[in-house]
Each structure stands twice: as structure tokens, then as C-alpha cells.
């Protein structure tokens, strides 16, 4: 590999750029994933960050600093800044210098370096947890402080290796189903089995807590089920919202031997507790007043849980961290596509849920077809002169709505629906009035927040069965829809620059399709308007997630030729 072929460029702040076009890109990407966090992946250059935590995650998996440096040198186009080399060696050598162990009923912090132990016993962040200095290398820690000590130690730069073990929790007879209701056989994929083993570590104290990091669509839920089947303990599952809750429940009932009565929902709507209980972060962090306690956190003690699963652990709210600090003796599994948190609490995930215990190179997932790809198209239409006049005279919020409801969008939509007449298409919009016009003009069924549940279930079923191919969906319904069969989404209006929303909408169509077809995501926006500006912000976010945008200006019905829809 010549210097010019090398794909990596290491910046002095430990940012790592990886050039996608390099012939060694895939190899470098997979090697980097072990000790750096992917921050963004736009078209040409992906950005990773080497952080103390990413290095400690690597160290916890047994990687040495020499290996990290060797990898960087191997793929780096330019010399690695001297301070980066020093930092990597220094940070990685810190992991494992301290261990938490159990000696009978006693919780001990041990370290080879007596000076370090001395420092910790006197440090203002940690001294409150110290009960006694047993010998130069050992401190007795108050049993209730296991999680709190870990949190503080990581803050002062010395992550501890927790080998203090777990309570077993109440037994639960659970197995994975070998065959699904539709008759298809079911088994964990190889990498899913490997993830389960990496977490379990034969039941030793070295395993049993940690985060599994896999991209969307790689089957993280199924890995959760695999861990449940391996441990066979009562399990509390924490998820982001009700849609996810129901999806988990459906998967558990479909893919394990558990029965309907054994899998309970704990949400704003139902509050049942059973051998397997699925609760939302929202209900657990609910309280009437800011000064009140969180009443639903008692769920953590409602059963003798042997396993707690944290879905989308990068979104875990702060109060859940606090309670998790108190339950360090229970096995904890975090599932996520990224360890990067917008609130910067990555170190709490590391110390309270556990270090990353498994990830898998993208190459493997792509090669095996477990990740779908999507093509994004933005179609820019002008605002007719009549609306233009109204637009310029209106306040900003009204301008946005005028641009969103641009009647020119109807022609484009018409063309798109013709192009995708045999696909499963979701037409998504922000404004009910506009959606009603669309539903009526194209004679399509519509799903909104006020659609009765029975009707909603019926529409879902008909869409899944292929009886309905095109479905109009409002923003409210958007969050409660799980229609993996959709392979085309057409967004005719969106909210003010919500990046999360765009990602969510795109996520609807990103599940791998049986026929492995490419999914399409269209956004129709009014050119030269505030809607276009907001759309740009959302797209920038998606571009950083690795989606490519084709952009077309549509200058009137005559010029309307929709890009190939596949």
C-alpha cells in the first residue's frame, strides 16, 4: 500500500478521517471500529473520534495500545501527531490498573500501584465510598457504592474493571423458537450468536454487563432474545417508546417460547409486571411535579430480575442512570447503534451499563445483506406566483406553511406515484389539510393520530398484505407506525428542521427487504423558501449519516421527469 493509497488521516485532537475511495477503506474501517467511535459518514470521508472511552472499550476487549498504534501507522497517510501517540499509550495503560472484586460479602477495590490506591482513598470524588484501607493495594468499598465508585473513577481517568459478579435473579424457562408462526425456520445468525457469547462469557464475572453495538437493521432485538435464552432469568427490558415496546413484544412472542401472559407491557397505557416486562423510558421518568420522586422507578425492584436490557442505550435518560448505579449486581445489557450520546454521558454508559463487549465490522453485515441501502431524492419545485405574493407578505411561520402546501407538489407526487405504482409507498406530511387533499385527489387511505385503533390495525394489516400499496400518513402517526414492508417514502412536508424526524422517516424504509431492493426516500420542497432552508439542514444531518442525495429542480409540469425509481 503506497502512502497515497492509505485511507486514514489522524488529526492532533484524535479525530480520524477515513477516505472512502481508498482501496484499503474497508479494511481500515473495520480495524478502526475496535477503538474509535464513528461520528459521521458523509460521502467521501468518514470521521471517527478516538476518545479515552473508545480506548478503554478497546482495552476491555483485550486490545493493547501497541496494536492501536500499529493499526494507525499501517493505514495512516501522514505521520501520526506525536501527542496522539502519547495519549493513546497513556489512556490505554490506565484500564485494568484497578479492579473491583468480591471477597465473601465484601466489595474490594484493588490495584498494583499503591500510590494510586492512596490517591483514590484520599480523592475528594472517591473518599466517601471508602470504608477502610485494608492494605497498601486494597480498599474496602461500601457495598451500595459499586456503581457510584465506578462513575467517579472514570471521571478522574481510571476506569475500573468490575469483576465483583452478579446476583442470579429468578429463573425463567425461555428458549428461542426454531420455527416461526409462518412456518419459516429461525436461528440466530452467526454474528448474533457471537454477540450473545461475548456478553455471557460463560457466565463468568468478566461478562454479564456491557453494550453491544450494531448498525440499524442488524437485529439487535434478536440478540437480546438470545441473551435471555442463554441466561434464562426474569428480564426487564427498557425501550425508547411504545412503538419499540410493541415491536419487542411481538418479536419475543414470535421468536421465543414465552407466552402472551409472560410478556408484560409497562407503559402509559398499561402497567403490568411479569417475568418479562417491557417498559418505556418515558414512563419510568414520569413524575407529576419536578420536585416529586419518580414513582415508576420502583419497577427495578418489583421482581428479582436476572437481566436488564437497555435498548438504544445512547438515549438512556439521566434518572435511569441514577437507578442503574444502585443495581450493579444485576446483569445489564445495552443495545445501540452508536455509543455517542448528544448529552456527552458516554462515560456513564461505560461505567454503569458496561464497556462495549461486541461490535461487528460493517463489511460483514453488508456482505451478508443485513443492511439495506436507501437512495434519497430531493425534488425542488417553484412556488406559483399567486402563492409567492402571499408568501412574501406573511410572517415566517405562515411562510413555512405556504411553502409546505405548495400546490405544485401535487404534480410531482402524481408522477412519483405512477413511477412507484407497484411499490409500497408511504406519503408523509406535516399538515392534515394537505394530507386530506392528497388522500382525496389520489383516492388513498389515510392514517392520522385520530384514526381509531381498530381502523389503524386494519390499515396496517392491509398494507402489510399488499392489499393497500400507497398509504398517506400524518406526522403523529409517523411515530407510531412500524411498516417494514414500505420501500418508498415520499415526504411532502416536514417539521421545522427536525433531524430526528427525518432520520425516523428514513428508518421506516431502511429495513432489509426480502427481494433486497433499494429503498427510495423522496422529499418534495419548495425552492427558494424557508421550507427549502429547513430541508437543507435535515439533509445535512442525513448526509452525515451516509445517505446520498440526488437533487433535481422541477421547473413546471412540462419539465417533470422523475428520477429513476427502480
Amino acid at each position: 500500500m503506497t502512502s497515497a493509497d492509505k485511507p486514514i488521516i489522524v488529526q492532533s485532537d484524535r479525530t480520524v478521517f477515513v477516505e472512502v475511495e481508498s482501496p484499503a477503506f474497508e479494511e481500515a474501517r473495520d480495524a478502526l471500529g475496535a477503538f474509535a467511535e464513528l461520528i459521521k459518514c458523509p460521502e467521501h470521508i468518514h470521521t471517527y473520534q478516538i476518545t479515552p472511552l473508545s480506548l478503554w472499550n478497546a482495552a476491555s476487549a483485550g486490545m493493547k495500545s501497541e496494536t492501536v498504534l500499529e493499526t494507525l501507522r499501517r493505514f495512516s497517510r501522514y505521520p501520526i501527531p506525536g501527542n496522539v501517540e502519547t495519549d493513546i499509550a497513556e489512556y490505554m495503560n490506565r484500564y485494568g490498573r484497578l479492579t473491583l472484586e468480591r471477597d465473601g460479602g465484601r466489595l474490594l477495590l484493588r490495584g498494583q500501584d499503591a500510590y494510586l490506591i492512596e490517591e483514590i482513598s484520599r480523592h475528594k470524588r472517591t473518599q466517601a465510598f471508602v470504608e477502610e484501607r485494608i492494605d497498601p493495594n486494597t480498599i474496602l468499598i461500601g457495598g451500595a457504592y459499586r456503581g457510584h465508585l465506578k462513575q467517579e473513577l472514570i471521571k478522574i481517568g481510571f476506569p475500573v474493571r468490575d469483576l465483583a459478579g452478579y446476583v442470579e435473579g429468578e429463573e425463567l424457562d425461555v428458549h428461542l423458537s426454531g420455527r416461526l408462526a409462518n412456518g419459516k425456520s429461525f436461528a440466530l445468525r452467526d454474528y448474533q450468536s457471537a454477540a450473545v457469547s461475548a456478553f455471557h462469557r460463560d457466565g463468568s464475572a468478566a461478562g454479564g454487563s456491557g453494550a453491544i453495538v450494531l448498525p440499524c437493521g442488524a437485529g439487535k432485538t434478536v440478540i437480546g432474545l438470545g441473551v435471555m435464552a442463554r441466561l434464562k432469568k426474569r428480564t426487564l427490558i427498557l425501550v425508547t417508546n411504545v412503538v419499540a415496546l410493541r415491536q419487542w413484544r411481538r418479536e419475543i412472542l414470535e421468536k421465543t417460547t414465552l407466552t402472551d401472559a409472560e410478556v408484560c407491557e409497562y407503559s402509559g397505557e398499561e402497567k403490568n409486571i411479569g417475568p418479562v416486562t417491557i417498559a418505556t423510558y418515558q414512563i419510568l421518568t414520569y413524575r407529576k411535579k419536578k420536585s416529586d420522586e419518580y414513582p415508576h422507578l420502583k419497577l427495578f425492584e418489583a421482581q428479582d430480575w436476572g437481566l436488564i436490557i437497555y435498548d438504544e442505550v445512547h438515549l438512556l435518560p439521566a434518572p435511569i442512570f441514577r437507578i442503574t448505579a444502585d443495581i450493579q449486581a444485576r446483569r445489564r445489557l445495552g443495545l445501540t447503534a452508536t455509543l455517542v450520546r448528544e448529552d456527552g454521558l458516554e462515560s456513564d454508559v461505560f461505567s454503569l451499563i458496561g464497556p462495549k463487549c461486541f461490535d461487528i465490522p460493517w463489511k460483514v453485515l453488508e456482505k451478508e445483506g443485513w443492511i439495506a441501502s436507501a437512495q434519497c431524492h430531493e425534488l425542488r419545485v417553484p412556488l406559483p406566483m399567486e402563492q409567492r405574493r402571499e408568501y412574501v407578505m406573511s410572517p415566517p411561520r405562515a411562510q413555512y406553511r405556504i411553502a409546505s402546501e405548495n400546490p405544485m407538489k401535487m404534480d410531482v407526487l402524481d408522477e412519483l406515484l405512477k413511477t412507484h405504482q407497484n411499490d409500497r409507498v408511504l406519503i408523509i406530511g406535516q399538515y392534515l389539510r394537505q394530507l386530506r387533499v392528497v388522500a382525496s385527489a389520489f383516492n388513498l387511505p389515510m392514517l392520522t393520530g385520530s384514526t381509531p385503533n381498530a381502523e389503524r390495525v386494519d390499515l396496517f394489516k392491509r398494507f402489510r398484505d399488499g392489499e393497500i400499496k400507497h398509504l398517506v400518513v400524518s406526522k403523529v402517526a409517523n411515530f407510531a407506525v412500524d411498516l417494514p414492508e414500505a420501500n418508498v417514502a415520499i415526504q411532502i412536508s416536514g417539521s421545522f428542521g427536525s433531524r430526528q424526524e427525518e432520520a425516523q422517516r428514513l428508518g421506516r424504509i431502511l429495513r432489509p427487504k426480502a427481494e433486497n431492493a433499494v429503498a427510495h426516500f423522496y422529499t418534495i420542497v419548495t425552492r427558494d423558501s424557508s421550507e427549502g432552508e429547513f430541508a437543507q439542514k435535515r439533509q445535512r444531518f442525513l448526509a452525515e449519516q451516509g445517505y446520498q442525495y440526488n437533487i433535481r429542480n422541477i421547473d413546471g409540469a412540462a419539465a417533470l421527469t422523475i428520477p429513476s425509481g427502480g
Binding site: H44, Q539, A543, Y549
Partner: protein, 515 residues
């Protein structure tokens, strides 16, 4: 011209005296034999050390300044009075030069007339070793790792970022003539906390003003056109310019600075320190005190010496571990090259690989990107960070700002295409086009309104032959818009034709002249 050729200029008798004084054995005292024997001895560092020891300290100081601080690539050197000033009074300079030349250590090139001397390369090299022997070699120790890529020149970086700050911000002086602190903060944001220091900022500012890249105009520090030209000279030339500035501003007139630099050149001994290794400042200053020549022994307070170290660090000649309280110091690679300790010469970076423009509007310029290219990027994009890669962000604000500076949308797009090898992502191109298209759709321009008392008169004056199409822009039946220049001509024309036009103070200057 080599040393042998130079020695031929020394009279036979003088050569004989040198040979006798230093015990140079000559088989036959012919000039040719003398030249061969003495020539061989002039390459002998020990011999030269003895020879220079014969010189008064002032002459030695002068010779050392010549060896260290004049451009090593030239053999003919202009010995300005400034460089000699710390050692010899101007009126004694020709005599001193002749005395040094009498020993064959330099060769005057009609010095009294043109101030030039000749110092052959091989003699400079040997003399360099002689002067490096003044101080003893010290043992280096590991210093902190620098975040800056080693091939970059810190002082040039400081200058470049200051120019960029001046490009974007109006810099007003305070009443005391200083710059507002905000400018230092902006500069610090660009160059990075780890590399910023007040001394480095001041160095950059002094250089920028000295080189005419900026000037103070009505209490405002503003860029001159020279800035862009200077950056366009290329880094090799920029570095040479820096050396000239360093020598002229602080080295040539300062005995202490010359001594300090000789010290840094000496303490390396035969083995240059490994990358990142530095010497203890305490050891350096102790050595400086112990091995001073008598003329050098005026005690210079430690804090004053530390201040000079900070300046040399700001100039990129040495690096310090800590600019506030330096404990370790050593020559930088560039400093070593300047003092001729390293033979490697600076080579302009290879033509840069294409820059990467990402669909999220990031632009990454590769390490080899020239200052000239970065300067242009700074005009059309928002600077984010300079590291191994230099990061910019394309934005509506930056684009419109560049257009107000005179860039056209086409020029921006062409530049980005050229930079990226034609790979400007759709999202970026469409956005730039949309933003750029807004610029100038409404235009304010300065015109003079020519108003007639009715459409008939307006029609009539359009037919005046000398109006020459100046009345083409008719904005109503009785009104025309004309440029200021044309207005003056038309006014005169109408008056000549007997129309007796009036005006509302449109031509204030000319009316004052008449009264």
C-alpha cells in the same frame, strides 16, 4: 569560488607569515606549495580555532555573526553595519574586516567600496564547527509532544492566521495604539490554544507590518494588496523573508541574541537531539554564563534572557516546553537549518491532493495545501480548524461575504471544482447556486436623476447629437437616470445649448470652484 582560489588572493609574504606563525611545514616555500599546505590546514577545525583565538573578541564576534547569521547559500555576503554593530563601531569596521581577512578567514570583495566580503562554503562550514566549540554539548531530555505537524513553520502559521483575522475583521487600535484583545482571541481560536501566545502574536503582528502586508490607516489596521501577493510567493520564499526579518529586527543588533543562538547551535554537539527532545533551560543559561567571552560577560538578567527565548520560540527558531515558565528548549528543525546545522533544505510541498468537499458542506484541505490556496478558501468558506487537514465549512454567509468581496458565483464554483477535482456534491452545488442567485437581485447604485418639466422636453433632449446615448435609461416620461460621470458632461452640454439646467447640489465640488 573555492577556498584554494580565495587563498590565492593573499600576498605571498602574508601566506609565509601565516605558515610560520602556525607551524605549517612547507617543503618548498613557493606560493603554490604554501597555498596547498595552508589550504589543507584551513579545513582543520583545531587549526582554525587557534587562528580565531588570535583575534580580539570583538572581531571574533563579528566573524561569528557572519558565519551564523548571513545567508549560507551565498559566498559573497553584504556585511551590513547592523550585523556588525554589537561588535565593532562603524568607523572601525573596515579595519576589523581587513584584520580578519589578513588571517585568510574571510576575503574582502572591495569591502571599503561595496561592503562585501566573501566566505567560501567550506570555510564557513569549518568556522561553524569552531564557533560551536565555544559551548559544551548538553544532554537532551524528552519534552512534550507537539500537536503541530513537524513540517509546518509555526511563525508562518502565526502570520497566516493573523492575515486571515485581518481579512475578516475590522481591527481598530485602542487610544493607546494597541490592538483590541478580541483580535488576539480570534487569532488564538484559529491557531489553537496550544500554539497561541502573546509573544507569537506580537511577532506575527510586527512581521506583518514590517513586510507591508498590513498598515495602520486612521487608527485601523488593514490589509494591503501585498498580503495576497506575499502568500502567492510560496513557502520557500516566505521562510527566507522571515529569516531576513528575524536577523534585522532582533539578531543583528543584539549581542545577547547572537550569543544565545550560538549556544543553541553548540549544545547539540555531534548528535542532534531526537524528535521531541529538548535541553534544560537552567543548563543552557549556566553554560551561557560559564563560557562567555569577556566582551559577552555583561550580566543579562535571567528574565531578560527568558524573554529572548520566548521571542525565538515565537519566531519558530526554537521550541519551548512551556511559554510561560520555560524549563526546556531546543532549536526547531527550521532553526537548525537556518543555523546551517542541517543540510536539508526546505522543499515546497508537493502539489496538494484534491480537497474533499462533503455533502454536509465540510471542506477538507490536504496537508500540502499552500497558504495561497488556504487564503482563497478563507475568503469563500468559514474556517474551522487547522490540523493535519485544514477544515472549512461552506455556508450561505461565507458565500455572500465572498461575493461582496468581488467573487462571482461562477468563480466560487470553478474554484471548488478545481480544488476537488470536479467532485462538488449535488447538495452543496445546488445550495451554493441557490444562495448565490440571491446576491445582487436588488442592486443599489448611484445615479443622477435628470428631470425635465415635461415629456416633450424630455423627448427633445434625447435627440441632441452629443447626448451620445447617455439618456437611454428613461425611467418615466420626463425623467432619465444617468451615471454621475455622464451627468457632469450632460450638464455642460445642456448649458452650452442654452437649456440653463439647474441642480440640487449634485455638483457641489464644481460649484465651489466657480465661486
Amino acid at each position: 569560488m573555492n577556498l584554494y582560489q580565495m587563498l590565492t588572493h593573499i600576498p605571498h609574504e602574508r601566506l609565509q607569515r601565516i605558515a610560520d606563525s602556525f607551524g605549517v611545514g612547507v617543503y618548498s616555500p613557493s606560493k603554490r606549495n604554501l597555498l596547498q599546505s595552508i589550504g589543507a590546514r584551513y579545513r582543520d577545525v583545531e587549526f582554525l580555532a587557534e587562528l580565531t583565538a588570535e583575534l580580539p573578541h570583538s572581531h571574533r564576534g563579528l566573524l561569528r555573526a557572519l558565519v551564523f547569521f548571513t545567508p549560507p547559500e551565498h559566498e559573497t555576503i553584504e556585511l551590513g553595519a547592523d550585523l556588525a554593530a554589537p561588535w565593532v563601531e562603524p568607523e572601525h569596521l573596515p579595519g576589523a574586516v581587513e584584520e580578519i581577512a589578513a588571517l585568510g578567514l574571510i576575503f574582502p570583495d572591495d569591502f571599503r567600496r561595496n561592503g562585501r566580503v566573501i566566505l567560501p562554503h567550506e570555510l564557513r562550514k569549518s568556522l561553524l564547527d569552531v564557533f560551536r566549540g565555544q559551548f559544551k554539548a548538553l544532554t537532551p531530555r524528552p519534552g512534550p509532544a507537539s500537536p503541530m505537524p513537524p513540517q509546518r513553520h509555526i511563525a508562518l502559521e502565526a502570520v497566516f492566521h493573523l492575515l486571515c483575522v485581518l481579512l475578516h475583521v475590522r481591527v481598530r487600535q485602542t487610544q493607546k495604539g494597541a490592538l483590541h484583545k478580541r483580535i488576539f482571541e480570534l487569532w488564538t481560536q484559529r491557531i489553537g490554544e496550544g500554539l497561541a501566545s502573546e509573544s507569537r502574536f506580537q511577532f506575527a503582528l510586527d512581521f506583518v507590518v514590517h513586510a507591508g502586508l498590513a498598515r495602520v490607516e486612521e487608527s485601523e489596521l488593514e490589509l494591503t494588496d501585498e498580503a495576497a501577493r506575499w502568500l502567492g510567493h510560496g513557502e520557500y520564499e516566505n521562510r527566507r523573508e522571515l529569516i531576513r526579518f528575524i536577523v534585522s529586527s532582533r539578531v543583528s543588533r543584539s549581542r545577547e541574541m547572537q550569543r544565545l543562538l550560538a549556544l543553541f547551535a553548540s549544545v547539540e554537539g555531534e548528535n542532534p537531539p531526537a524528535s521531541g527532545e529538548l535541553y534544560a533551560v537552567d543548563d543552557l543559561l549556566a553554560e551561557l554564563e560559564l563560557n562567555a567571552w569577556p566582551e559577552e560577560s555583561d550580566p543579562v538578567p535571567r528574565e531578560a534572557l527568558i524573554e529572548r527565548l520566548r521571542w525565538l520560540d515565537a519566531a519558530g527558531v526554537i521550541s519551548l516546553d512551556d511559554r510561560e515558565r520555560p524549563a526546556l528548549a531546543a532549536l526547531t528543525g527550521w532553526g537548525r537549518r537556518w543555523l546551517s546545522l542541517e543540510e536539508t533544505v526546505f522543499i515546497e510541498p508537493e502539489p496538494a491532493a484534491p480537497a474533499m468537499i462533503q455533502p454536509n458542506f465540510e471542506l477538507l484541505a490536504p496537508p500540502g495545501a499552500s497558504y495561497d490556496l488556504l487564503w482563497r478558501l478563507d475568503q469563500i468558506a468559514e474556517f474551522r480548524r487547522r490540523d493535519v487537514m485544514t477544515e472549512y465549512h461552506l455556508s450561505q454567509g461565507a458565500l455572500l461575504k465572498s461575493m461582496r468581496r468581488g467573487w462571482t458565483l461562477d468563480a466560487v464554483l470553478a474554484f471548488l471544482d478545481e480544488l476537488s477535482g470536479g467532485r462538488v456534491p449535488d447538495l452543496v452545488r445546488f445550495s451554493l447556486e441557490e444562495w448565490g442567485a440571491r446576491y445582487g437581485r436588488i442592486r443599489f447604485r448611484r445615479v443622477v436623476l435628470v428631470e425635465c418639466d415635461g415629456p416633450e422636453l424630455a423627448e427633445e433632449i434625447t435627440h441632441l447629437p452629443d447626448a451620445n446615448g447617455a439618456l437611454e435609461e428613461r425611467i418615466s416620461g420626463a425623467c432619465f437616470a444617468v451615471s454621475e460621470r455622464e451627468a457632469r458632461r450632460l450638464f455642460k452640454l445642456f448649458r452650452e445649448r442654452g437649456y440653463e439646467p439647474s441642480h440640487d447640489n449634485v455638483f457641489t465640488d464644481s460649484s465651489r470652484k466657480k465661486t
